[in-house]
Symmetry: C2
């Protein structure tokens, strides 16, 4: 693999822990937080894929709210307007994974521009990154909103090339979501899969170029690449 000229991150699940909302869920539904957050996340993803296939785009926030409504109905849990608003708001205050702030600082010292390419709307990405105090690390925050399609549609990954003015082969794409890493690899990015949970990589016809168990490994991988140039 040749040295890269920029690093682009997925946001939900990769930099930020989507299951950090489980705590808020537990507050409203004691003992059910992890169950709710797991089904909520699964349905949120399914709704982005299905809406794109149906040609019925709606914002990530709206898909997130729809997924929460389904989850509570399926689990036979009452969901009043206030609870719904509070839980959806929790998605604007996600916690970064613990190692992320230090890893971003170390990566910045490598001198490469860093960016985010996310299913979230401009507002959601701004909020999550701003609320966690990590905004200064990123040269670009790129939302799918302008193409009205969700990952892993090819046109979403093209946005990173356009916004960074770089060819796909010069951009390292980093994701914890195997389906996102596979979509990015099919597109032509070099890809690092962050596999914190010890999962198997999805069988989608490609493998990631690199796999790491956390973001801690990333500065070393990028540095070694630069050293090999």
């Amino acid at each position: 693999m040749k040295p890269v000229k920029a690093v682009v991150f997925d946001l939900y699940g990769t930099l930020y822990d989507v299951h950090s909302v489980a705590r808020q869920c537990s507050g409203f539904y004691p003992g059910r937080g992890l169950e709710i957050s797991a089904m909520w996340r699964q349905k949120q993803l399914e709704y982005t894929w299905l809406r794109t296939l149906m040609g019925q785009y709606l914002s990530f926030e709206a898909a997130t709210e729809d997924a929460l409504v389904f989850t509570c109905r399926q689990l036979k849990l009452a969901l009043d307007d206030k609870t719904r608003a509070t839980l959806c708001d929790a998605y604007l205050h996600l916690q970064p994974h613990p190692e992320v702030p230090a890893a971003l600082s170390a990566l910045q010292r490598c001198g490469l521009p860093l960016a985010i390419l996310s299913n979230g709307s401009v507002h959601s990405i701004d909020s999550v990154v701003g609320n966690s105090g990590l905004r200064h690390h990123f040269a670009e925050l790129i939302s799918v909103d302008s193409v009205r399609l969700f990952k892993p549609h090819t046109k979403v990954y093209e946005l990173a090339e356009t916004r960074l003015g770089l060819h796909r082969s010069d951009i390292l794409f980093v994701s914890s979501n195997a389906w996102d890493a596979a979509g990015a690899r099919h597109f032509g990015f070099p890809v690092c899969w962050i596999n914190r949970a010890g999962n198997s990589f999805d069988e989608l016809g490609v493998q990631p170029d690199m796999t790491a168990t956390s973001m801690d490994a990333l500065p070393g991988l990028v540095d070694r690449q630069a050293g090999a140039a």
Copy 2:
């Protein structure tokens, strides 16, 4: 709703029980059959959606095999070539849901042409329908293969209009898969959702025109419609 001129069925899950493979799974992996068949089915669906979004179509049989390979790897179960071939073959010998044969006979007496529109390849649909002895009920077996996209992509539903020579508003679409029923409804079919499991309907911006707990109800619903004409 105006009277319809044809009835089009989804195959996997609607006419045929995808979890009938659980028995064969249990034969190879005692006590794990339901767990395997549930993850296998979920991943099979995800892979059809993701492959379509990535522009990386492959046949339904290949997606089914990929999903089985992932499932066994994720569950840390060994999968040799013979087991893999035997389990994938089970998808060509799915059992119809118990009420289906009688419901199809009763529907045929209503005088409407019946058809299948499925993610399966021509070979898969032929095999499943032929092996279960239900071929004579159907005027058309329609596969996504010719458009190289999976449901719920709009172009798949268009195939039913083309093959039956009818407008979408004249075709009753029947599916047990809420995401498929929602895709068909967005497309413009009148839709009956068969909800055998007592699930909530997915939050995808539409509702089915009719819901039934089994196919038993379908001849009566179609008849009442004809009577109302």
